[in-house]
Symmetry: C2
Subunit: 243 residues, 2 copies
């Protein structure tokens, strides 16, 4: 399983992914699900993957190989908008499924999905969810976060706490709390967490971090949240005897 | 959609269900998903339903009609253990699916699932999850809660806070918090919430309450939890700049 999260804010983007890959519970591995394409000062694009790993790796590798090639409709670095990037990735996904899908189907689901967030000069930061079909939807100030993979356990904290006034650093904290909830309830989502805080108009991916299981901040966050929540729950009186 | 929750504790059982029924978003209704079968002093059995409403109502109505009839293998009141009750309900579910399933399939999923909790004299309280196939699993001190329907949003709070030392009243509070999380993230789960606190060896369902949307305790619970969580999140410092 996988959990990837993208948050679009007035200040920029927060993008995060876990690292667990599994094909059956006896075949597990750690993989990187967040790929960054960067032309410093001009373009930062992050691609987060869920679903069939062979499919999503084929898409990301093809993107990597074509980046900077100048090949029309293939070169991510030549895209003039994030919409073009989303279309390019959706198209690449359709190519891979058309080529491999039929062979993979007897063994499992060949499909994959992506979150694609970033900024290209001349536009504000944008965030897309690319479906298995290769079509996509865009985040906006009315729906600030998009998720793929194991989405439900980590959604309540975002539904409650994320607002249009949330800063990039606060959103990064909420993302980690969302991953904490997911990892506690689903063993097939696991650290390290790749976490990119992209500040609008920075055109740089320097704030990309890998949060390991033993990272002191991550340990403190989980502990303070668990203790605080336990205290909060005890502080609320039990229900009356209605009957 | 539906959310039903059952918790097995040393002190007894907590069972809760929402009331939203929907067949498409333009055909919604409120229904009761928690049915109680009671022989005061001898037997209390609660049956909570999720899935196809016609199927689950057919099962519960058949149980109701046969209760006390003395018909062998049909009479819930004559069951000598909760295991027998689970088997009886699983069998009834198979009957309904065998009779109606073929006709319903072209229009939607005919299946249903149940949580069945209660106590029969001579046994401690027990709790079962009856699958669509009519087979079932039982809760234990290693897996104290079972859920059916929209299970994920309300699971993190239970994973965190429920322990073997949780009292019946505390578990009732946690159940309502679990419903709060679910209702905030999924509009198709809605109040009123039917909530049964069954005290072990009471053989009475007198602590069955219907918690309406405007219930003062419910309003206070949601508000205190939302405020407390917001305060907790703000009290945790944001992540460092790892990069």
């Amino acid at each position: 399983m996988t959990y990837c999260l993208g948050i679009l804010l007035p200040d920029g983007l927060v993008l995060a992914s876990d690292s667990r890959s599994n094909a059956g519970i006896d075949q597990v591995a750690l993989v990187k699900k967040l790929a960054v394409f960067e032309v410093p000062g001009q373009q930062v694009v992050a691609v987060l993957s869920a679903g069939n790993l062979a499919t999503t790796q084929a898409v990301v590798t093809a993107l990597r190989e074509s980046a900077g090639s100048g090949a029309p409709g293939q070169d991510l670095h030549a895209a003039r908008s994030m919409f073009d990037v989303a279309q390019l990735i959706g198209g690449k996904l359709r190519e891979v499924i058309a080529r491999d899908g039929h062979y993979v189907q007897p063994f499992g689901d060949p499909h994959g999905t992506f979150l694609v967030g970033g900024q290209i000069t001349g536009e504000p930061p944008r965030l897309f969810h690319i479906y298995s079909a290769g079509n996509f939807v865009e985040a906006s100030d009315r729906s600030r976060f998009l998720q793929i993979g194991e989405t439900k356990y980590g959604k309540p904290i975002l539904d409650r706490a994320l607002t249009n006034a949330t800063t990039l650093d606060e959103a990064a904290k909420l993302s980690l709390l969302s991953f904490d909830a997911t990892m506690r309830s689903n063993l097939s989502v696991d650290a390290p967490i790749d976490l990119l805080r992209y500040a609008a108009d920075s055109f740089s991916a320097r704030n990309l971090a890998t949060v390991e299981k033993d990272d002191p901040y991550w340990i403190e966050l989980r502990q303070r949240y668990a203790e605080g929540l336990a205290n909060l729950v005890s502080s609320i009186p039990p229900p009356p005897q209605w009957g």
